[in-house]
């Protein structure tokens, strides 16, 4: 009977703590009952072994007492997990590669093979870390039984998207936008001394800093982060709807404000240098000698101003389009499909 005690003890090690002792007593008495029923007189070692074999391994027996369906990340969360994991890892790797590329461009020293190897092994390490963090976050969601969609909410078949739906968010576009935004944020945060006009003079590359952007770095980062937040929201919702449109319009308005602040900063700076107008800039082009740092910076600042102006125009057009679609969505119902007969 010593074998039965060992068996029951081993099952106990794998049982849920709550009912452990109780289940162990029941198991012990059941085994004894079965044995008594089967064998007349004192059971032999073989009898007991035969019985335990039929009952199954301790792990297997204990497992059947656990609640069914134990998941680290269950079926209801898994599709979302897979999507988030894919997007985050993709964005993460691209951002790191781009930053590595930028570092390469600005690095004056010759890279050794070992440096490259080190960078890539660091990157692989951080991919695993990211993977781990995402798994932990989802495991916590699973533990608290968070569901991606509220199950109580009744779904409305009439809200099903059209087959060629214009309102579907393009995933690739959002991912590209997030990646680009994160690269910009990383540059603003970690390489603020590289924002300026790059002057290539053999044998040295010199960077003349943009004096205006530096003062607005926090504002810029906030505005870009808001954009990333809305992109994540769009990926999550998967569709353009009133809420996501309003959020996007809101962040766009903020971007427009930031761009205007930046533009007027550039204007003020250029006016101070006596080179405010665009045409005076064109006139200057003739006289410029590349070795003159000051004039190079003025050209550079004009270029920055031009780039920001273009960005302002693009964002404004996008915002107007968004407002138009928002208004349209209130008036135009989705077309219904006419079935024959």
């Amino acid at each position: 009977m010593e074998l039965i005690d060992r068996y029951v003890h081993e099952v106990g090690r794998h049982l849920p703590r709550k009912n452990r002792a109780d289940i162990q007593v029941e198991l012990q008495s059941t085994l004894a009952d079965t044995l008594e029923d089967r064998v007349e007189g004192e059971p032999t070692q073989e009898d007991v072994e035969q019985l335990l074999k039929e009952f199954g391994s301790p792990q297997q027996v204990a497992a059947s007492y656990w609640p069914q369906g134990q998941y680290l990340i269950g079926p209801s969360l898994f599709p979302l997990f897979r999507m988030v994991l894919g997007i985050v890892l993709l964005v993460f790797v691209i951002v790191q590669l781009v930053l590595f590329g930028i570092a390469l461009v600005f690095n004056q020293e010759v890279l050794t093979f070992l440096d490259v190897l080190e960078t890539f092994s660091g990157m692989i390490g951080s991919v695993f870390t990211t993977f781990g963090i995402i798994v932990i976050v989802f495991a916590i969601l699973q533990y608290f039984e968070v569901k991606p969609d509220s199950e109580d909410e009744e779904w409305d078949p009439s809200q099903l998207p059209q087959i060629d739906d214009e309102e579907t968010v393009s995933r690739g576009g959002r991912v590209a936008e997030i990646t680009f935004s994160l690269v910009i944020i990383a540059i603003l945060l970690f390489l603020p001394d590289k924002i300026g006009v790059v002057l290539v003079l053999n044998p040295f590359t010199e960077i003349i800093l943009n004096p205006v952007i530096r003062t607005y770095i926090p504002l810029l980062i906030v505005s870009i982060l808001l954009g990333v937040f809305v992109d994540v929201l769009l990926l999550w919702r998967g569709r353009w709807e009133t809420g996501t449109r309003l959020a996007k319009i809101g962040t766009n308005l903020f971007s427009i404000y930031v761009l205007i602040v930046l533009l007027s900063g550039h204007n003020a700076w250029l006016a101070e240098q006596g080179a405010g107008g665009f045409f005076s800039f064109l006139e200057m082009l003739d006289e410029i000698t590349i070795s003159n740092q000051e004039s190079v910076l003025i050209i550079g600042m004009h270029a920055f101003r031009l780039a920001f102006s273009i960005a302002l125009i693009v964002i404004s057009i996008e915002t107007i389009a968004l407002v138009y679609k928002l208004i349209k969505s209130f008036f135009v119902r989705p077309t219904t499909i006419n079935l024959p007969g």
Binding site: N19, I23, E26, L27, T30, E54, G56, S64, Y65
Partner: protein, 114 residues
């Protein structure tokens, strides 16, 4: 790839899993301990794995369909299970469901045979 016997076994298991609750509830109008229940079911033609029945009894108790009590009067302590009020009500409904299902399946299977 599963062999035909393995497939057969798996499908039979699935079929049986559904009726175990009904079978267990039906035999627990009077209090019984697990091993006695297995014997009784076996006598009436339904073989249940011990490893399946005990966890099932605990789950049914958690759901409030069974009540249980330790009895230490015999040669060894035994946990006696008995159907609860809620269990009886559910058993009634399930029995009706089952009988309807049997009728339907009979029709389906026997017509197919002809």
């Amino acid at each position: 790839m599963m062999t035909d016997t393995a497939k057969h076994e798996k499908l039979t298991q699935e079929l049986r899993r559904g009726i175990l609750v009904l079978a267990a509830l039906s035999q627990l109008k009077s209090a019984k301990y697990g091993y006695a229940l297995i014997e009784e079911l076996s006598d009436k033609g339904l073989e249940i794995d011990q490893g399946t029945l005990y966890p099932l009894l605990r789950r049914l108790e958690d759901q409030g369909l069974l009540e249980s009590e330790w009895n230490v009067e015999g040669s060894r302590p035994r946990r006696y299970y008995k159907i609860s009020q809620a269990g009886e009500e559910l058993l009634q409904v399930l029995t009706d469901d089952w009988l309807t299902l049997v009728e339907v399946m009979k029709k389906l299977l026997l017509i197919d045979k002809e």
